[in-house]
Subunit: 213 residues, 2 copies
């Protein structure tokens, strides 16, 4: 089935909760690597991508719409323009693979949704996107389930660890270092990030610049 | 396919990282509810269960082996005794459903593994359990992948948010309050736990005893 993916992206000063381990320039580069991993999976599953960017940005594999309004407004500006099924997918889920997206878009229901950790929504596939509206922030998974009900949509909840895992905080990098395969993992390793195991718990450590040389 | 599930369980003073919101008696009752949810899913998928308990315990739907040695030793005592495929599954993944277990045990590979967050392993299905040995703690997912390779096993990694979500810390309770359907969620709600949304992030709060009356 042909569909078009909508990927919100913040090119400038993204992922501020990672400031404890990455400076602004590194966070921007890391966000770009994660975006590349997500776009890679989207294109591999046979579909096209549009980035909803908060600032001017260029990407050779995607269309760009610069939208300076808040996230929900930007998505709700885009959705009514869709004449084919749409996938709204977050740019910070670098573990996603093309096969995972296929699980989503092959749903028999009107809508498929992937919860993110902490009540969030990491992906929504909509066969009739024009009826829907996004409501991110807070417990958006519950909000989106409610909106789907208002639209009269049947819904499949997709159970996927890889798609539910977003990179918000230092602890999330553990998942990427263990399960990642793409550019984002390479990027972290190049910066000197590695797993650190203390008292049976797994964390990440970053070697100093001197150690990595 | 018939298989037997091995479920490690600590009846006394479990889940100490939840001490900030639950006293010992409540943690013991909560662990028991989670165990019931897991056993429920296991039995519904057509299989039997044995609990590896650190202390004497009774459960009407499972066999019990009291094993006072550390977790790995207890599992590695049990595995060589298996003459049928075995599922090792953690007792603290109350979001698991029978259909999720079916995804695991219907693998075409020699082994299926479900990563837990933070490098852990939440479930392993083994067609030839006698060859394998468990190595929990630390980055056990990577260790188990290595051991599988040593055994010459083909491996399927099962991508499941529900099975990868264990209940270790207060933040994990958010997942249960949003996605749970079983006894564990009911238990938390009965104690006055509810979602709390502040500055766009979702947490849990517990009403005081007076407020719940």
């Amino acid at each position: 089935m042909y569909f078009h993916a909508l990927i919100p992206f913040k090119p400038v000063n993204p992922k501020t909760r990672l400031s404890c381990v990455l400076d602004q320039e590194e966070r921007e580069a890391f966000a770009r690597c994660m975006l590349d991993d997500v776009i890679g999976a989207v294109l591999k599953s046979g579909c096209s991508a549009t980035l909803l960017c908060t600032d001017p940005f260029e990407h050779e594999d995607a269309l760009i719409a610069v939208r300076r309004e808040p996230l929900n407004d930007a998505i709700n500006w885009a959705l009514p323009q869709f004449h084919c099924p749409a996938l709204i997918i977050m740019a910070d889920i670098p573990l996603v693979r093309a096969g995972d997206i296929q699980r989503l878009v092959s749903t028999a229901k009107d809508m498929a949704i992937v919860p993110g950790r902490g009540g969030g929504t990491n992906a929504i596939f909509l066969k009739k996107p024009r009826c829907f509206r996004a409501d991110y922030y807070g417990a958006s998974f519950l909000d989106h389930m409610r909106i789907a009900e208002e639209c009269g949509f049947s819904v499949e909840v997709i159970d996927s660890y890889r798609m539910s895992t977003d990179m918000d905080e230092k602890e999330d990098l553990v998942e990427l270092l263990i399960h990642g395969r793409g550019k984002s993992r390479e990027f972290l390793e190049r910066l000197g990030f590695a797993l650190s195991i203390e008292k049976g718990r797994v964390g990440v450590k970053r070697r100093s610049h001197e150690e990595t040389l």
